[in-house]
């Protein structure tokens, strides 16, 4: 028996309820005290194209997906055709027996590449191009086939509940499929009921019908198949408070906690989920204990991303903690506005959700392709900070820090998130909002502007650390000017070469100040033994897969450590050099074609990474891919310098 360790997947056409089915599974597990990590894949399409949801379950926190499936839960044929090959020996495939005669050619959404791969395999086995054919292959490879006669079960239900329920009942097929799997796993049925209740909390009416359907499915599947299956999920009692959330929610909550009062956005995948969440949560209480909804954020949908960045900057000038969130194409349009903010020392946060590029690229797929662009976006030179979060907890706290940094150093901050983080779901211990410190830097209070009669307030006063006391627009005594032109301390245009030098030096000085002021633990994470045979360097979401793989290295007795860089700019040169100078085999991991981070490391330290593990097929890196590629590099003296990961449907 394998208890509380499972890789589970469901799939289906977009709009057919795959998400809600998967969430019932995820929620039930989390309610039962288990940890989950869920990964969603979908096409740039609204209805009809194939999407799937893979969930790993464990007793301890998990942070990544794996390449194999222990349980494939389906209710359409496309999911079977696409994923039968991923099911492990001893794993299970749940399916609708009514679909077994469906042929490959009847599915218009399968890419030629996919069809030819399946066809080749069927030919090898001498099987027909039907569901039956591929199921047979899976079976021969050791998967268990668990047909769930949905029609029959629905029939019984209809008989019990009366004809009227008919049409709506059909919609419970997803629930039935999911709960069948939980039945086989013998999971606590009460948790499933709770899971259904939470999932359908907005549509109370359908809860009871789904619960009935669940009962039927649970009972049937449990009875028929449990004994043949060696995986189990068992409820765990815990008093740890946990969240089950998505990346975009983590960032949104971080922004609210961090005092963001103004967010602009232009719709774009996957960033806009964050803004829509904020819009739906635009008012909230304050901790002063009053009952009123004094807390609020104004969310503005703009006409484009140029307006999004410039409007956020305008709001920041009025004193708001202001942000915008976007993805690659939108960020490309924000370059000029970002430069203006840099020139005028305006604190503004830009949350960039990387996705497959270039151009429109793979809008719903994953990539970390915008690293170098985020460092150099906009003509000319000005200070900016770039930070990259590796998981949802970091994303939450970094969202706060981004504002603190922005106001402390009075400069734009780019917060790099990515598609994988945005759309995955994970359990975390409750975030601690008491840890959220607000540092507004040198922001002048309403009554703090003291200028003696003749002297004007100097917005760009030259100071030691490059930081000038900042006043909101509208502050008495603090009239000032901004201009994108080079300017004097008052903010008026001047082309004087000496003033130019002073102002360039003042602005760029802030990067040095930031590098000094920001504590090391906010810049980097270091995991594993100090001395190791291989040192992995990475940034952003590969973190989860690397950490999960490190548990396997440990088991294998391989000594591997891992440096995660979170503050990309200003780059923690000394620390990274130190680690790499000590490192025996230096392995860079990131999700882009050219190894952008590795080139940045070399730019700053002169050190070339020994190996690049990269992936650019649009699908996130799994634990297994890290495990296998790093092991290969460590054990094979002829390992290539660049290893391209390929997994993912």
């Amino acid at each position: 028996m394998v208890v509380n360790k499972l890789s589970w997947m469901t799939g289906g056409a977009q709009g057919s309820g795959v998400d809600s089915a998967a969430n019932i599974f995820g929620r039930s597990c989390t309610l039962g005290g288990l940890h989950v990590y869920g990964k969603r894949e979908y096409y740039s399409n609204i209805i009809g194209a194939h999407s799937y949801f893979q969930i790993r379950v464990d007793e301890k926190p998990i942070r990544s997906h794996v390449d194999t499936i222990d349980m494939l839960v389906t209710f359409d044929e496309e999911t079977l055709f696409r994923h039968y090959g991923e099911v492990v020996k001893g794993g299970a495939i749940l399916y609708d027996p009514a679909l077994v005669e469906m042929t490959l050619s009847r599915i218009p959404t399968l890419e030629p590449e996919v069809i030819s791969k399946i066809t080749a395999e069927l030919n090898e086995f001498g099987l027909p191009p039907t569901v039956k054919g591929i199921l047979s292959i899976a079976e021969q490879r050791g998967a268990k086939l668990f047909p769930i006669p949905f029609a029959e079960l629905l029939g019984t239900l209809e008989a019990e509940m009366g004809k009227d329920a008919g049409a709506n009942l059909k919609k419970t097929v997803n629930t039935m499929a999911v709960v069948s799997s939980l039945g086989i796993l013998e999971f606590d049925f009460d948790m499933i009921v709770k899971g259904i209740e939470v999932q359908f909390s907005a549509k109370r009416k359908v809860v009871s019908m789904n619960v009935k359907a669940a009962e039927k499915a649970y009972e049937y599947a449990n009875r028929e198949y449990s004994k043949q299956f060696t995986f189990r999920l068992k409820k765990i009692i815990t008093d740890e408070k946990r969240l089950y959330l998505q990346g975009t929610q983590a960032v949104a909550l971080g922004k609210l906690a961090g005092g963001c009062t103004f967010q602009t956005y232009y719709p774009i995948t996957p960033a806009s989920d964050e803004s829509v969440y904020l819009e739906a949560h635009e008012t909230f209480r304050l901790t002063d204990g009053t009952d009123s909804q004094e807390g609020s954020i104004v969310v503005v949908q703009t006409e484009d991303e140029i307006a999004a960045i410039t409007m956020a900057v305008g709001a920041a000038l009025s004193g708001a903690r202001a942000a915008t969130a976007t993805s690659g194409p939108g960020f490309s349009l924000m370059a000029e506005g970002t430069g203006w903010a840099g020139m005028n020392e305006v604190p503004v946060v830009i949350t960039v959700y990387s996705r497959g590029g270039p151009a429109t690229g793979l809008p719903t797929r994953h990539e970390q392709g915008d690293l170098l662009f985020s460092l150099y976006a906009a003509h000319g030179e000005f200070p900016r900070l770039v930070l990259a979060s590796g998981d949802m907890e970091e994303a939450f706290y970094d969202a706060v820090r981004a504002f603190n940094y922005a106001e402390q150093f009075q400069t734009p901050v780019v917060h790099l998130i990515d598609k994988a983080l945005a759309n995955s779901t994970q359990t975390y211990p409750m975030f601690d909002t008491r840890k959220v410190i607000i540092n507004r830097g040198e922001l002048l209070a309403e009554d703090a502007v003291v200028t003696n009669g003749s002297e004007m307030y100097k917005r760009f006063e030259l100071t030691e650390d490059g930081i000038s006391p900042r006043a909101r627009l509208g502050t008495a005594g603090a009239i000032y000017w901004n201009t994108g032109d080079e300017h004097d301390e008052l903010g008026h245009i001047t082309e004087d070469p000496e003033n130019r030098n002073r102002m360039m030096e003042k602005r760029m000085k802030k990067l040095e100040t930031a590098a000094q002021v920001i504590p090391l633990e906010e810049k980097v994470n270091f995991f594993g033994p100090k001395e190791a045979d291989a040192t992995i360097v990475s940034w952003g979401t590969p973190k989860g897969a690397i950490l999960d793989a490190m548990e396997l290295f440990e088991k294998d007795g391989l000594k591997v450590n891992f440096l995660q860089v979170r503050l990309i700019h200003p780059f923690p040169v000394e620390y990274v050099s130190g680690v790499l100078n000590r490192a025996k085999r230096k392995i860079n991991v990131e999700m882009n074609f050219s190894g952008q981070f590795a080139s940045l490391v070399r730019q700053h330290t002169g050190i070339a990474m020994d190996h690049l593990i990269v992936k650019y097929n649009g699908r996130p890196i799994s634990r297994d891919e890290i495990y296998e590629s790093v092991t290969m590099i460590m054990t094979n003296p002829k390992a290539p310098r660049k290893v391209v990961l390929q997994h993912g449907a």
Binding site: R27, T30, D239, K241, R242, L243, Y244, L253, G258, G259, T261, T264, E282, T283, F284, R285, T287, D288, Q293, E294, G295, S296, V298, V300, E303, D304, I306, A307, T310, M311, A312, V313, G314, A315, A316, L317, S318, G319, A320, A322, G337, V400, T427, M430, T433, V436, I437, I438, L473, G474, A476, I479, Y480, W481, N482, T483, G484, D485, G491, I493
Partner: protein
Amino acid sequence: MELEVKTAEPKPKQLKLADYKTDVHNDWCPGCGDFGILSAVQMALNDLQIEPHRAVIFSGIGCSSKLPHFVKVSGIHTLHGRSLPFAIGAKLANPALTVVCAAGDGDGLGIGVGHFVNAGRRNVDFTYILHNNGVYGLTKGQASPTLRLGVKTKSLPMPNINEGVNSLLLALASGFTFIARGYSYEVKHLKELIKQGILHKGSAYIDVQQPCPTYNDINTKDWYAGEDRMDANTRNPLPRIYKLEDTGYDPLVKADSSDEEIQQKINRFIEKAMEWGDKIPIGIFLKNESVSTYEMRIQERIKTYFSSPPGTRNIADTEGCSNADLSAFFAELQVT
């Protein structure tokens, strides 16, 4: 409708026109129409006795967009074409500010026209002054979007290959609720338009015909004054500029105006807006009081918006920690 705005009774500490002037060297060309606009802005602010720290002037990039540096209220000289979104952001974050934008015709109707059209849908409370000189002044005289087809100003190698856009019509189509035209050599009249625009609750658009003596040798001060066409009898020039309010034109649309009345007003508007060449009307073309401002719409959703707006709301408690109580939102996501 009265064009002139009755201004506040002199307060004890009355602000003087000089209080709205900076000592920054003004480098516009001699005779530039921008000087008149600058005076009108300063006079309007002074007439309304707006405290300098409560007003902000936004601008884009161009000769005209240097204007904020010459006015002693806060001034944000932004990017080419982007004054509107900057201004809207500042205004929404602090709705107590008086927000004025100054933009060139290239700036506002060329590169920035997307923001113009989309601003119309919002009706945020600001006043937008467009310096309409028919050319890109600061980049040495290329045709601006308002220059008509076939016109060849001094610095064009060939006659203009594009038709000019009618910005009044465009403002109407975009949804601006206050639409006016001024002339930079009718400074007092322009000042009144600006005051009306500032007092109007919503987005006010003021097109200002602004001669550029350096690059636009067609639409010159003399041309507007009709110096090229003399009345055969009086031997006086026949000015092209005339005032709408002298013709009994009524720009007012009220919340309770009938559809028919509105349709009529719009027909009249269009007729006047299309006049050009021999007769160029200035004055208020439309003042539509029937549309809510964006700020009012936010206030409907967020009850504390005006009292505690994004720019000044307190976000930390006395210990410097976040004062956001997100427990309700965490509860939505909590599982154990």
